[in-house]
């Protein structure tokens, strides 16, 4: 078990290092140091990490919701800001999800290819015809409305960008395929 955990952590750190190396210049988006964040997170909760929702804001602050592997009906939020990871914050739902609903909703961290993010941001700007747009939020969540199946029952990256004149958003599948684009 310990060996498996160690291998997982090693693979993750390696992958995240690659992301950091590929990240665009800081002026384009304040990319958070996901390598450091996930290293801290794994050291705290261990593997496997099952992601309920991931959000990165305009300033590169991260809010990651993960399933508690000891109590699988519970979800905790970990915030990462300026290199510091928060203690777990209980996520409060308006309607308690069942274990089955949370199990279905979560995304295995190992299936998330963070290296695709910079490319997805570039694709989003091109797709929307907004080359000078700035990222103001990046989200990852399964499109199943918290356990209720919808037509998009897959994990969806959503890249939100804006300019002084327009707001836009592009949705991607985990493998970087464009699912939807919308600008106003």
């Amino acid at each position: 078990m310990f060996r498996r955990r160690l291998l997982f952590a090693f693979a993750l750190v390696f992958a995240m290092h690659a992301v950091a190396a590929d990240a665009p210049p800081a002026g384009d988006y304040a990319w958070p140091n996901l390598t450091d964040f996930l290293k801290q997170l794994i050291a705290k909760v261990g593997a496997p990490v099952k992601v309920y929702r991931l959000t990165m804001d305009r300033d590169g602050n991260v809010d990651l919701w993960i399933q508690d592997q000891q109590r699988r009906d519970l979800v905790d939020s970990y915030e990462y800001e300026k290199g510091v990871m928060s203690e777990p914050i209980p996520v409060k739902f308006e309607h308690y999800p069942s274990v089955g609903a949370v199990d279905h909703h979560v995304i295995e961290l190992t299936t998330i290819d963070f290296q695709r993010l910079p490319g997805m941001v570039a694709t989003a700007k091109a797709k929307l015809g907004l080359p000078d747009a700035r990222v103001f939020r990046i989200e990852l969540e399964r499109g199943d409305s918290h356990g209720f199946l919808t037509y998009t029952d897959v994990p969806i990256w959503t890249i939100h960008v804006d300019t002084p004149r327009h707001d836009g958003r592009v949705e991607f599948s985990l493998d970087g395929k464009v699912l939807d684009a919308d600008k106003d």
């Binding site: 009906d73 409060k92 309607h95 004149r165 707001d167 106003d184």
Partner: protein, 363 residues
């Protein structure tokens, strides 16, 4: 001692600044007296063919939202303060311009705007409204009736509002005023004659609050004594529609003893002050069958509340958020509904009119 290069740089800077200032159009000092100069200043500042989506016109401030004719998803806002240089326009989010009704800038008639603002002020003075600051060119919230608009409000009645709309050329005025929850047409001739006065504020005849008795309350520990105090204030047995309880406040919707189609809401705060908060008509087809305190297990309420979290296994560490008592289902017997909360979510516990547990489950 500055070098020749430094002197040349300072001179170039002065020239550049002077040119920049000279290039900025200056707004006229008295816009209402010279609307043509206002339009010329906007035209100079905008400097390209545009359509006007919105225009606010007054003597202290004017602004415009325009659409670039050459790029129709580009909207900019320009502002004007009398006597001041006009700044460059600020880009507007395309999505923030909901209504696409517009007129060509060449057709913008600010002389008409100045005239209708004068008419609006005369109507305000003659009918007891406040003087409007400006008139606005644009459509209504439903993207209809594109024209100049004046909104008149009353000093003495915050519920009174009169809207007058003219065409973009300042013709065909029509007026309407807020009445109840909708609009009612008002005759322009009556307004011009000063015989369509702003309605006076409705007299407030709510009774004075009953002062608290100095005792600090937690209503989750019992409400019987305070129900009796409210009954004494009302002067008749209470016929309830709804009772709500939390630690800090007890509130109850009570049918009026003299008119069963009216419901009054009384609030009791944690110091015991009783206040009539509001009175409303009953809602047709809603359950309007009163219940009395004796129809529900009021005496058992503290025990029900204290025991509610433990009845929902994952929420044993939770706390009670609030309690409601009202008729269950389709106007059935009154039940007690206790909402439980913890760090993760909410749960509900329900008791029937005899105090028997009906359900206890997470939400």
């Amino acid at each position: 001692m500055p070098t020749r290069i430094e002197v040349a740089l300072v001179a170039a800077l002065v020239v550049a600044c002077t040119e920049a200032l000279a290039a900025e159009p200056v707004a006229p000092a008295h816009p209402l007296d010279d609307p043509a100069a206002v339009k010329a200043a906007f035209a100079a500042r905008i400097g390209k063919p545009v359509h006007v989506m919105q225009f606010g016109f007054g003597e202290h401030y004017s602004d415009a939202i325009v659409q670039n004719d050459a790029a129709q998803d580009e909207f900019d806002r320009y502002e004007m303060v009398p006597g001041q240089p006009m700044k460059e326009g600020t880009p507007q989010k395309s999505g923030s311009v909901d209504c696409k009704k517009k007129i060509a800038f060449a057709d913008l008639d600010l002389a008409a705007a100045a005239r209708v603002l004068g008419e609006a002020r005369a109507i305000a003075a003659g009918n007891g409204y406040k003087q409007p600051e400006n008139v606005q060119l644009g459509a209504d919230v439903f993207c209809n009736d594109f024209g100049w608009r004046a909104y008149l409000t009353s000093e003495t009645n915050s519920d009174a509002m009169l809207e007058i709309v003219w065409s973009p050329a300042g013709a065909s005025p029509k007026a309407r005023r807020l009445k109840d929850d909708g609009w009612a047409k008002v005759d322009m001739k009556s307004l011009a004659a000063g015989t369509a006065k702003a309605p006076p504020a409705a007299p407030k005849n709510e009774p004075a609050p009953t002062p608290g008795d100095g005792r600090e309350r937690d209503f989750t520990h019992g409400i019987e004594a305070d129900l009796a105090r409210v009954e004494a204030k009302v002067g008749a047995p209470l016929g309830f529609k709804h009772i709500r309880v939390d630690k800090e406040q007890l509130s109850m919707d009570v049918f009026s003893p003299s008119n069963k189609k009216r419901v009054a809401t009384y609030l009791v705060d944690n110091k015991g002050e009783i206040r009539l908060w509001r009175e409303d008509d009953t809602i047709p087809f809603d359950c309007n069958k009163p219940f009395s305190a004796s129809d529900v297990p009021i005496a058992q309420l503290p025990a029900m509340i204290a025991g509610a979290p433990a009845l929902i296994p994952p929420m044993a560490q939770g706390w009670v958020k609030d309690v409601s008592i009202y008729r269950s289902g389709l106007c059935g017997a009154p039940h007690v509904y206790i909402q439980v909360e913890d760090d993760r979510g909410y749960g509900n516990v329900e008791y029937d009119q005899r105090g028997r547990l009906v359900s206890a489950e997470v939400q």
